[in-house]
């Protein structure tokens, strides 16, 4: 019997689970595919987190710092889980380091899967000219610009007029049919930050619905009432680069009028989709994927339960969710792992 828990994925959910388990007294084996802990917020250099503009470091910094320094957490960066045998209380897992190709074997009591998400690749949908026209960027790329405090087009000049296009790669049968839940809030947060950074920029949010659920609604209200951000209900059919500006062709469905307006920058609210890491981990651990490619829990209302005893789920590998939910799910999964530990070994 072993007192170690394997955590797959070093993003917000995985880190939270690792910290909680280590605090609880368990040893944690943290396997992260990339060479950096922190997941999407760190990888894409998120400037701040919705809804309260909390700097990313404030949330992620302590978690990363703890895991990197704690003797209870054994961090394997640039590594993937390659094999998993055994059952609850006693799994044998193989962890392969992708850089040097070495494989190590570990015995763990339970497994927490927190493999996170990828941003939708907007070049899949040719409407938005992403990857073909300059100054068409995703919200993930804008975060890094905002963090630098330098929001500029390819010519180095700050944009005067910016369009955010919502639901790119979301709620669309030809790409991803689900709602990514957070892109509305994140886009609005960014629009406000852009106003704060650039001052005289005109920002237009081209949306189908605004889904700022729960307390995130404050972002939506503030963006209109305090920052004068414009909302256009409608969809965009084409973004065309004229050689100087971006011609956005769409419809304002509130007036039933087609519009063709020039913008300096177009920001695509690219959705959340399951990444290759999730698929790989599900394959190795024998977990079921749902029709969308997310890991399917045994019961849709109980996220942590993977359907396999001793393997628990947390975060956006199950469904799109906000960072606050992701962190809570990390803790929830840690609790499940702790229950297993209590049954099998005295901690």
């Amino acid at each position: 019997m072993t007192g170690t828990v394997l955590v797959v994925g070093g993003g917000p959910a995985g880190l939270r689970a690792a910290v909680d388990l280590a605090d609880f007294g368990a040893r944690v084996l943290l396997v992260e595919k990339r060479d950096q802990l922190g997941g999407a917020p760190v990888r894409w250099k998120y400037r701040s987190l919705a809804p309260d503009f909390t700097p990313t470091e404030e949330v992620m910094g302590p978690l990363i710092g703890f895991c990197e320094s704690s003797p209870m957490v054994e961090v394997h960066k640039g590594s993937v889980v390659e094999g998993c045998e055994g059952s609850v209380g006693d799994f044998t897992v193989k962890v392969r380091n992708e850089a040097d190709g070495t494989t190590t074997e570990h015995r763990v009591s339970s497994v927490i899967v927190a493999t996170g998400f990828e941003h939708f690749d907007a070049s899949v949908d040719p409407r938005y000219a992403y990857g073909r026209a300059p100054n068409v960027i995703g919200i993930n790329e804008l975060e890094a610009m905002l963090k630098e405090g330098r929001v500029v087009g390819h010519d180095g000049r700050p944009p005067k007029r910016v369009a955010f296009i919502f639901c790119v790669g979301s709620r669309d049968r030809s790409t991803n049919p689900w709602c990514c839940t957070v892109c509305c809030g994140v886009s609005i947060k960014q629009a406000i930050e852009m106003k704060q950074t650039l001052g005289d920029v005109q920002v237009y949010m081209i949306y189908m619905d605004i889904r700022t659920v729960g307390l995130w609604e404050k972002l939506y209200w503030d963006s209109m009432e305090k920052y004068g951000i414009n909302y256009i209900r409608g969809r965009v059919g084409e973004v065309y680069y004229t050689g100087e500006k971006l011609l956005v062709k769409g419809e304002d469905t509130l007036v039933r009028g087609p519009f063709e307006v020039l913008f300096d920058m177009v920001v695509l609210a690219v959705g959340i989709e399951p990444g290759p890491g999730t698929k790989q981990a599900a394959g190795v651990l024998g977990l079921k994927l749902n029709e969308y490619g997310f890991i399917a829990p045994r019961q849709p209302n109980v996220h942590v339960d993977s359907g396999r005893d001793g393997i628990f789920l947390a975060g956006t590998c199950i469904a799109p969710m906000s960072i606050e939910e992701t962190l809570s799910e990390g803790s929830a999964a840690a609790m499940q792992a702790a229950k297993v530990l209590k049954k099998t070994v005295a901690v």
Partner: protein, 426 residues
């Protein structure tokens, strides 16, 4: 085992079970956005055409080596054979009336390149004027006219080259109907019998812009004027690339293979600067019946949705296109807005006129730019043509024509090919 499905009160469509399954899927299949069926349907139609030939139901006018064919890639990824010689010129109604330089320039280019062709007087209109004449005709009549013209070309042993975008689109769709529907086939056959003709279906329906596309390097070799400073915007005609879209030419080296290749490719081969613009996909304003019944909207659309954005976005020296209706609409529709005080204007001509000009053709005697309304003088100056002295030559030429001279380049070169005997194929 063929099935018969009722498509309307009066018409039944006989298709195989397999085809039926396909057609049933049309509504659901997202790819059914294409004009008639899916790409698979279209390829199936070509297969069925071969079957019909094997069964002796129809004759196919093959693009044999005699026509020195060149292969082009179509939207369906199928390779289409474009004949390059021995062409039967299927002229366009509006072309001769509105933009005579269109056709004379094409003949001039062919004569210059030494291409044998037939300018047959035994050709009728496709009668799809304004595309289906907005309901003045029916599939059987249109198909009969189509096959009558194709038969006329076949008897002359020349391959039909269709000048008009509307005829081209109409013929592609008629061919689909004739092949896919037994009833239409039988009805058309009985009509053709009355005029002593039979079902001869061309293996490929070929537009003249596709011919220019495959001949573009030969044309470029004979270029006399430097057009490298000329910037060109291209309008592709709806009737060529939106009707039976899968059968039009695309080329990976032209506009990334994402937009129709002909005309753009010709301009590029000649060394002109090709400029892209946002509303390339929009109609020229000709519409269907709109040019006839809603001129105000046609001309407004042509100007506000095509000409003005093109000038604003590209500042092109010339707008090239490859259909009768498009040249006419885009050119003539500039007059009223200019009178209203709008400033943006661009000369409009066909790719054949542009190619002929670059090859040194006379701007008035051959290209007949005097009929064009948008100001072409700056373009000619940029191309290095002294239009003022050309005007003098043109006047002298008119005098000679008055005295009985006929221009050599629009006369069909004599052909010694034997006509196919009527009824031989029956």
């Amino acid at each position: 085992m063929p099935e018969v499905i009722r498509v309307s009160k009066k018409e039944d469509l006989e298709i195989s079970k397999e085809d039926l399954k396909f057609l049933e899927g049309l509504g659901a299949d997202r790819r059914a956005k294409l004009a008639m069926g899916t790409t698979e349907d279209y390829l199936r139609m070509l297969e069925k055409m071969k079957d019909l030939e094997k069964r002796g139901e129809i004759t196919i006018h093959h693009v044999t080596d005699e026509y020195e064919p060149a292969g082009v890639r179509t939207l369906s990824r199928r390779v289409k054979k474009i004949p390059t010689v021995e062409l039967w010129q299927h002229k366009s109604c509006g072309q001769c009336g509105h933009i005579p330089g269109y056709i004379s320039a094409l003949y001039w280019v062919m004569t210059e390149l030494g291409i044998p062709y037939v300018d047959d007087t035994n050709q009728t209109s496709c009668t799809a004027w304004n595309y289906y004449g907005s309901g003045t005709s029916n599939p059987v009549a249109l198909s009969a006219v189509f096959l009558r013209n194709m038969h006329a070309a076949w008897e002359k042993n020349a391959y039909p080259l269709i000048h008009c975008g509307t005829s081209y689109g109409d013929y592609k769709e008629c061919r689909y109907l004739v092949v896919m529907s037994r009833e239409i086939r039988d009805r058309v056959r009985s009509i053709l019998k009355k005029i002593g003709r039979d079902l001869v279906i061309p293996e490929e329906v070929v537009h003249y812009s596709e011919w220019l596309h495959v001949m573009r390097w030969k044309i470029a070799e004979r270029r006399k004027l430097d057009v490298s400073k000329v910037s060109v915007a291209v309008h592709a005609a709806c009737h060529t690339y939106k009707l039976m879209a899968e059968d039009f030419t695309y080329d990976d080296t032209v506009l990334g293979g994402k937009k129709p290749a002909p005309t753009s490719s010709t301009a590029l081969a000649l060394g002109a600067k090709l400029l892209d613009y946002s509303n390339w996909y929009d109609c020229c304003g000709f519409g269907f019946r709109h040019i006839l019944t809603e001129r105000e909207i046609s001309r407004s659309f042509a100007y506000f949705r095509k000409i003005r954005p093109i000038v604003r976005e590209t500042g092109a020296d010339v707008l090239l296109t490859h259909d009768t209706g498009c040249v006419t609409t885009l050119d003539k529709s500039q007059v009223v807005p200019l009178a209203h005080g709008y400033k943006e204007t661009v000369p409009v001509m066909s790719d054949s006129q542009f190619a002929a000009l670059a090859m040194g053709a006379h701007p008035f005697i051959v290209c007949q730019l005097q009929w064009h309304l948008a100001d072409w003088k700056p373009l000619l100056a940029k191309m290095g043509v002294d239009w003022a002295s050309a005007e003098g030559e043109y006047k002298a030429y008119l005098e000679r024509v008055r005295n009985g001279e006929r221009p050599a380049f629009i006369r069909s070169p004599p052909r010694n090919l034997e006509n196919r005997v009527r009824g031989e194929s029956a």
